[in-house]
Amino acid sequence: MFDLYRRLSGALGRSSGNDNASGNEARTDGGVVSDRSVPEPGSESDPGPLARVGAAVDRRLGSDFLESSLFWLPPFLLIALFVYGAIIWNLLISLTDYRGFANAPDYGNLDFEMYTRALADPGFIDAAVNTLILLVAFTGATLAVGLLLAILIDRGIRFENAFRTIYLLPMSLSFVVTAQFWLWMYNFNNGIVNLLLGTVGIGPISFLGDQTIVLWAVIFALMWQFSGYAMVVYLAGLRAIPTEHYEAAQVDGASTLKMYWRVIIPQLKGATISAAVVLMVFGMKAFDFLYSLVGGYRPPNGADILATKMVREAYANLNWAYGAAIAIVLFGMALAVIGPYLVYEYRRNNL
């Protein structure tokens, strides 16, 4: 936070160090002149006790710390309370046996019972495995389709802009719309997917009823929605690679496939990492999609993920502490995805 403040004040043209020495020098901050600096020797005015405390704080924490706090303190407090405070509170609740609003949580007896209960709960293990499968398969497939679309569009096809918009359009839809749309598509009797498969003599298949298939049907629907996003990220990456790199690979004797595999795709590492992180976060938030698909907290058998189980345990089964423990596991998974990304970006000096 202080680092952010320092950078912000740097951007505003203020030195972050003690600039008492600069006295009355011309400033570039639009004429805002601090009156909290130490008075000039021989100055007549008495700064008063409050101003002295302010000056002391400024000396310790950088100039204009108090003045600028008007701007950063309210959001800082709100975020601290409602985001990080809530996370810590959630962690505390997960260590209690809290079961609904009737009684207040008992913070006097904290233990890891909910976590041991989770490990012994086959429903939790299933949901955790499904979440991992969804994360990996959805992210992998979406990246692959996005990359393929980006390469096809990048090869100078006609109506490129129209195709780009068409592929990106599903991303602008809400999960609720996508879920309803795929509910129709996957309908056992009249769904387009089954009708199409019927023409080649396959099916009908109960995409949402068969628990060995349903997770993959959900992954496919999510991939349909987000491959446009991956395509745009990859397209930006491809456009940043000079044409000469393609030509250099060609004169070196590389076939089109080898050119992409050995020269072009490795140069898309940055695009892959940023797209993968965003997609994984979307994947973890697939609760909305599954909720809309069935209109309730219980997704089709075989498609339960940690997000749906967490909400179901808390709101339907009133196991608040257990729901909180599942939330903490999900939070840990999100950190495991985002943490390495932040380290990667930090090492590249992008943070």
């Binding site: 000079p242 000469e244 790199h245 030509e247 250099a248 004169v251 070196d252």
Partner: protein
């Protein structure tokens, strides 16, 4: 036999003719330069040789074999790009071994070949570096090593010195020229810098507006330009209107014997290079109007008695010359070149 040839090659982009009926034969081991102003079609010509552009008319041959419709990956050409286009996801060594790897050369052999090339180009210590961390001059050498690693039919160089500073350009020009001579690899060198072409190439093709204006050795191009464009593009040229009659060249203010038998009779244009004008003696007086100090010499513009402008090269030993001074000049019949073509 010519190693590489363009036979009556034309390239059209929609209604624009980028290369118009150009024929160039490049001998085995020869360094051929293509020079010309921006947009003259020289880079398109190089891309036709590499196979990046399809020929509209005509034929491209390697060793007599028609390769017009063979794609670039099957032509076995080495190309050094203006931007070097080194692959940043690979080390220098991997960049150099990439081509041989694509040509299914064994691991040991391609590594040996790459190391040999890096040593030849005096950059063996850069083998494990990432190309991003190299200077422009080092990148150029790596680009050259990569192009040579596939033992190409022809080495193509597309303005490889653009973007380097003047001093480095001068050093690399000598080194690259020497290297190309030593390697005896057939080379096509495209540049807009006529000085580079003159010092590095065995022969030069001058292009303008898609046409081939002249092809010849640097001295032929410089001393006997085929037309006014070539005379003006290569070096500095004085082009003077004259009348030729009975092997006599009449300037209006002086007369000279024609340099050998002439095909032209009547009005013509002659070219005199500034360094061929003898200053300080002679029958013609020139009034100096401009002086440009250029370090090694002083370039001056003067007015001839008939009002035509003449560019001169003054030796610094001539002492103080100021604008408005009159200087006596002379030129020999051997130093004037009658331009026969009007193009």
């Amino acid at each position: 036999m010519s190693e590489v040839s363009l036979d009556n090659v034309t390239k059209r982009f929609d209604s624009t003719v980028a290369v118009n009926d150009v024929s160039i034969d490049i001998d085995d081991g020869e360094v051929m330069g293509i020079v010309g102003p921006s947009g003259c079609g020289k880079t398109t010509a190089l891309r036709l040789v590499a196979g990046f552009e399809t020929v509209s008319e005509g034929t491209v041959r390697y060793d007599g074999e028609d390769v017009t419709h063979i794609p670039p990956e099957n032509r076995n050409v080495g190309l050094v790009f203006q931007s070097y286009a080194l692959f940043n996801n690979m080390t220098v060594l991997q960049n150099v071994t990439f081509g041989p790897k694509m040509h299914d050369v064994g691991k040991e052999e391609r590594r040996d070949r790459a190391c040999e090339l890096l040593e030849l180009l005096d950059i063996e210590e850069l083998a494990d570096r990432n190309p991003k961390t190299l200077s422009g001059g080092q990148q150029q050498r790596v680009g050259l090593a990569r192009a040579l690693a596939i033992e190409p039919h022809i080495l193509l160089l597309d303005e490889p010195m653009t973007g380097l500073d003047a001093k480095l350009k001068q050093t690399l020009r000598q080194e690259l020229g020497q290297l190309l001579d030593d390697l005896e690899v057939t080379t096509l060198y495209v540049t807009h810098d006529q000085e580079q072409a003159m010092s590095m190439c065995d022969r030069i093709a001058v292009m303008n507006d898609g046409h081939l204006e002249q092809i010849g050795t640097p001295s032929e191009i410089y001393e006997q330009p085929a037309n006014e464009f070539v005379a003006g593009f290569i070096g500095t040229a004085n082009l003077l209107e004259v009348t030729i009659e009975d092997e006599q060249v009449s300037f209006g203010f002086t007369e000279l014997d024609a340099p050998g038998p002439q095909r032209v009779d009547g009005t013509a244009t002659v070219m005199i290079r500034p360094d061929d004008v003898r200053v300080g003696e002679g029958p013609v007086s020139v009034e100096i109007t401009n002086l440009f100090y250029q370090g090694e010499h002083i370039q001056a513009t003067g007015l001839l008695p008939d009002g035509q402008k003449l560019t001169l090269r003054l030796d610094r030993s001539l002492g103080d010359v100021t604008t408005g001074d009159s200087l006596s000049i002379a030129f020999d019949p051997d130093d004037i070149h009658v331009i026969e073509s009007t193009r």
